[in-house]
């Protein structure tokens, strides 16, 4: 029986691109994003991926007003 390819998603937030507005954190249906405790060079507490549970829905990407803060990756098992 052919097994369905499993897809694994992850998200990266570039610390120096983020303005810490929390839009992505509020929008994530899986609550896997958070604002962490350090500030970036622009002086904002930036958002970060907690590391597990992203389903690749894209909500954070389209909610984020910054051009390059959010990148979503997709891995598929061979």
């Amino acid at each position: 029986m052919a097994e369905k390819k499993r897809k694994i998603f992850s998200v990266k937030i570039a610390p120096q691109e983020c303005k810490g507005c929390s839009r992505c954190v509020n929008a994530c249906p899986k609550s896997v994003l958070k604002i962490q405790e350090n500030i970036n060079q622009m002086g904002y507490f930036f958002a970060t991926y907690t590391g597990d549970g992203c389903v690749g829905c894209g909500a954070c990407f389209y909610n984020c007003p910054e051009p390059g803060a959010v990148t979503i990756y997709e891995k598929s098992e061979e």
């Binding site: 691109e17 303005k19 929008a27 622009m42 007003p65 051009p67 990756y73 098992e77």
Partner: protein, 497 residues
């Protein structure tokens, strides 16, 4: 395991914002959480997906988004407040292949620029307007906009917008959708994920319309200005979804692009000589070749002629016939009418200036060389403007000879009486023209070819009445009657003299 990128920085943005001053070259100048950033992202993504950057011109007027040319990798122009649709019109008319985007705020579009915007929409210009409605003047620090909600506090309405004082929020999308020309109007919101994804579809649809040259599309995006409204991200979304949407309901208000053919407008003309040919069509009859120059010394200086009388006497067309003569003999000429608001009766006059070089002022209020007066008030009023040795020709059936004429030369003919006998007072102007052809012979002719002098009068009548063929004959007859009458008067006065 293979890894690929699912969503990343849209390619419609420059990879580095080198035009942005200061050290930060990868993100934009907007405040944290600003709706402009979300809208920019949707547009940048679509520009790249549709492979349309090469032909796109992105226009942004003042407002927080005035610097879009820092960010979008396509043609970009910043323009004065409210003027983006006017500039867009110029671009799209001059270069019909361009995909023109106008990106405007609510203060810009709905206040100072409302007329520019509505007229462009109503002309169905081939463009898209992205209208970012954040219910405030963002850039200038949070003043009331036409779209500010009732009760919403701003720095210029600290007690909240009062509908008694300032009226209700302006519903731009509803206004535009009511016009016949626009093909697509939708209101979306940059709030929840669901609404943003609908905004994404609307942006893409509007850009497809631009690519397909379907005419005017607009997407109004309800947007957050969290800084001026003093909200966090969640409060901002709630304000948009609960407060703004109750006045600005979301939805597609119009989508008829599928029923419209691509717009094809006449090709624009830029070559100077071609523009001239369109603006100043060649005379239908007569004229001389382009090299001709009237040899008379008299025309070393410009000649200034005023025709005046009652409205309805054909004063303006008399001036036009004289102007035509000048035009037909390669003079530069101006014709400037002035009349009361009433069409018949009242007073009318026109100034005609002809010159071998450029005409100075088209207005005559002094230094007049020739005054043609068809009633008494005109003589009384304009005689002082007539130069020493200038010529006065008046209608002796409506006015009597003036006193204190100094060195001026005076002629008269009973133009209105003659015209009335011929069946229409309306051709009194052509009678005057006939008289002019006689009295000017000695005065203006000098080295001119006398036959050409006679011919140009007839050409002028043809030129001026070419659109009213049935009156040409009457006016010719009146012209000859005027000549005859003037000749008789001249001969009798020389006999007497």
């Amino acid at each position: 395991m293979t890894e690929k990128i699912k969503l990343q920085r849209p390619k419609g943005f420059f990879s580095k914002f080198d035009r942005r001053p200061g050290p930060v070259k990868t993100n934009m100048h907007y405040c944290p959480g600003c709706g402009h950033g979300i809208m920019h992202k949707l547009i940048a993504e679509a520009l790249a997906d549709f492979d349309m950057q090469q032909n796109t011109i992105f226009i942004a007027p003042v407002g927080c988004a005035v610097f879009t040319y820092y960010y979008f990798d396509c043609g970009g122009i910043s323009v004065p407040h409210g003027r983006a649709p006017a500039v867009a019109t110029g671009i799209v008319r001059a270069t019909p292949d361009a995909h023109v985007i106008s990106y405007q705020g609510d203060g810009d579009l709905a206040a100072i620029g409302l007329n520019n915007f509505l007229q462009a929409a109503n002309r169905g210009e081939n463009m898209v307007v992205f209208f970012v409605n954040n219910a405030i003047y963002g850039m200038t620090g949070g003043q009331m906009a036409p779209t500010t909600l009732p009760g919403q506090k701003t720095v210029t309405c600290p007690n909240g917008r009062s509908t008694v004082n300032e009226g209700y929020p302006l519903k731009v999308s509803e206004m535009v959708a009511a016009l016949d020309s626009p093909v697509y109007v939708e209101r979306v919101a940059l709030s929840t994920t669901k609404n943003i994804m609908q905004a994404r579809r609307a942006v893409r649809k509007a850009l497809q319309n631009v690519i397909n040259k379907k005419g005017f599309s607009m997407v109004e995006a309800l947007s957050g200005c969290p800084v001026n409204l003093n909200f966090n991200a969640q409060e901002m979304n709630e304000f948009i979804d609960n407060q703004m949407m109750s006045y600005f309901p979301l939805g597609c208000l119009k989508d008829i692009a599928d029923n419209r053919d691509p717009i094809k407008r006449p090709v624009s003309i830029y070559a100077k000589n071609k523009v001239k040919a369109v603006l100043f069509p060649q005379a239908v009859d007569g004229g001389v070749d382009a090299e001709f120059e009237n040899p008379s010394e008299l025309f070393k200086k410009e000649r200034r002629i005023k025709c005046a009388g009652f409205g309805g006497q054909g004063i303006l067309s008399l001036g036009m016939m004289i102007a035509s003569m000048a035009k037909l003999r390669n003079f530069n000429v101006s014709w400037l009418p002035s009349y009361g608001p009433e069409k018949r009766g009242g007073t009318a006059n026109c100034s005609v200036v002809l010159s071998r070089s450029e005409v100075g002022s088209p207005l005559i209020d002094s230094d007049c060389n020739l005054l043609i007066a068809m009633n008494q008030p005109s003589i009384d009023k304009y005689l002082p403007e007539l130069k020493d040795k200038g010529v006065l020709l008046y209608d002796s059936s409506t006015a009597s000879a003036p006193e204190n004429i100094g060195n001026r030369i005076v002629y008269s003919v009973a133009a209105s009486n003659i015209a009335e006998k011929m069946g229409s007072i309306k051709c009194a102007n052509s009678v005057m023209l006939g008289a002019l052809a006689v009295i000017l012979r000695d005065y203006f002719l000098e080295k001119d070819d006398p036959q050409d002098f006679d011919r140009v009068f007839e050409e002028a009548i043809l030129d001026c009445f070419s659109h009213k063929k049935n009156t040409i004959r009457l006016n010719f007859n009146a012209y000859y009657a005027g000549k005859k009458a003037a000749l008789e008067i001249l001969q009798s006065s020389t006999v007497k003299g």
